[in-house]
């Protein structure tokens, strides 16, 4: 068995003294693991870092074997990202979400989104919004997508400001008003036709929203915990926005 594909590295695990088990998200073969012989060498280690885009050749005698990878670098993103706390936490969060998918199950849309996201992980003001959109896409690919296109109660597409925790569907301002305490706020950047960027409150609302549905549909049934990196990402984003607010205050003064 042999195939060639492009992939983004999600993580590596030491194997023996010289090899590594590589976990990649590929375009056509989904999340895939394979052994890289000599993967712990000085030459290979910089290539086999999470976030790097590589050209992969996978070989195995039988399809069900783990097989071996040969990885050639296409884009070495890791060195660009490791200085930023937001970028590394986001990268680990994305990888943790992708680990929820079954192995070798192709998700081309997630791969493309992941590639775009990694290109923008250095832009701190965009990361929160991008990660939330990615989380909603992962939920959708797992079969638990939210429907934020129209009001669950009235069918209107205007003024969608809430999300029902029960159905995962959007609710308009007027229909949701009596139950506002029980509904999630739909952050403005996730509303239909939204053009404005996300502020910290909108990001926190969005994280709360996706957390709830991840916990209900994925973490609780599988008995797993929320990835630590996600908490770290939120904390790093709070620090970033706080620093930004101080610098804006200084400029205004």
């Amino acid at each position: 068995m042999e195939w060639r594909d492009e992939g983004i590295i999600l993580g590596t695990r030491k194997h023996g003294e010289t090899s590594a088990v590589l976990e990649v998200m590929t375009r056509a073969h989904g999340r895939h693991l394979g052994l890289v012989r000599g993967g712990r060498s000085r030459k290979q280690q910089p290539v086999l870092q999470a976030g790097n885009r590589v050209e992969l050749t996978w070989r195995a005698r039988l399809d069900e074997h783990m097989g071996t990878f040969q990885a050639e670098p296409i884009e070495l993103n890791a060195a660009r990202l490791i200085d930023s706390a937001i970028a590394v936490y986001a990268l680990q969060t994305l990888a943790a979400h992708l680990r929820l998918l079954p192995e070798r199950d192709p998700h081309a849309a997630l791969y493309e989104t992941l590639a775009i996201l990694i290109d923008h992980l250095n832009e701190a003001e965009a990361v929160g919004e991008l990660v939330v959109r990615f989380e909603l896409l992962v939920l959708e690919e797992l079969g638990f997508g939210l429907d934020l296109s129209e009001c669950a109660a009235t069918g209107t597409v205007e003024e969608l400001t809430y999300v029902s925790p029960k159905s995962g569907r959007a609710v308009s301002r007027s229909a949701g008003e009596p139950w506002r305490d029980k509904l999630f706020a739909l952050p403005p950047f996730l509303q239909r036709g939204a053009r404005q960027g996300a502020d910290l409150k909108a990001i926190e609302d969005a994280f709360r929203l996706s957390s709830f549905f991840f916990a209900r549909h994925v973490y609780e049934p599988r008995g797993i915990d929320v990835p630590d990196a996600r908490g770290g990402l939120l904390m790093a984003l709070r620090k970033f926005y706080a620093a930004q607010a101080i610098s804006h205050g200084d400029t205004a003064a």
Binding site: L10, G11, T12, R13, E17, E23, Q45, P46, V47, Q49, A50, G51, P73, L76, N77, A78, A79, R80, L81, I82, D83, A85, V88, Y89, L91, Q92, A95, A96, R99, P227, D228, A229, G232, M235, A236
Partner: protein, 201 residues
Amino acid sequence: MSKRIAGPEIERLIQLLAKVPGLGPRSARRAALHLIKKKEQLLAPLAAAMGEAVDKVRVCSTCGNVDTSDPCMICTDPRRDPTTIIVVEDVSDLWALERAGAMNARFHVLGGTLSPLDGIGPDQLTIKQLVTRIAEGGVSEVILAVNATVEGQTTAHYLTDQLSGFDIKVTRLAHGVPVGGELDYLDEGTLSAALKSRTVF
């Protein structure tokens, strides 16, 4: 089934030696034969040294280093600067920095890095012990000497968050061109990191 060429004691010695890093079954066989040939000069002292190590080696409850005393020699050395702690992933990193002899500071061994793929979270590392050490006071700088890998740097960022409440300086090792490194052979990531952290010459 292959024929046995030696008694079970020798076979067991070979099997155990083959588990040592750097040795495979073939080299373990050679090493075992060499030890047996030099029974009095090498095998007996080695066995005695190993027995003594088994009895005496322990992990330092302060820094996580391995030594025959607890606290270890590094932690009890009065000539070391107690205000600086170098945080390393593993004891091998501590030994590497000690070989370099560049700083006369104290250490803290984390016992690995945060690695979701290996199921290693903050509770599996000695992060709480480090925070307790800092909270006890007397430390002014923590140097994060973790590997320049994504896992290593995630751990470094996590540690920085954990230590943000203390009035201490948190620094990390520089990333860039190694001594003897030729630019032509370096990966793009290292080159861009080196350019980003360039210094006035």
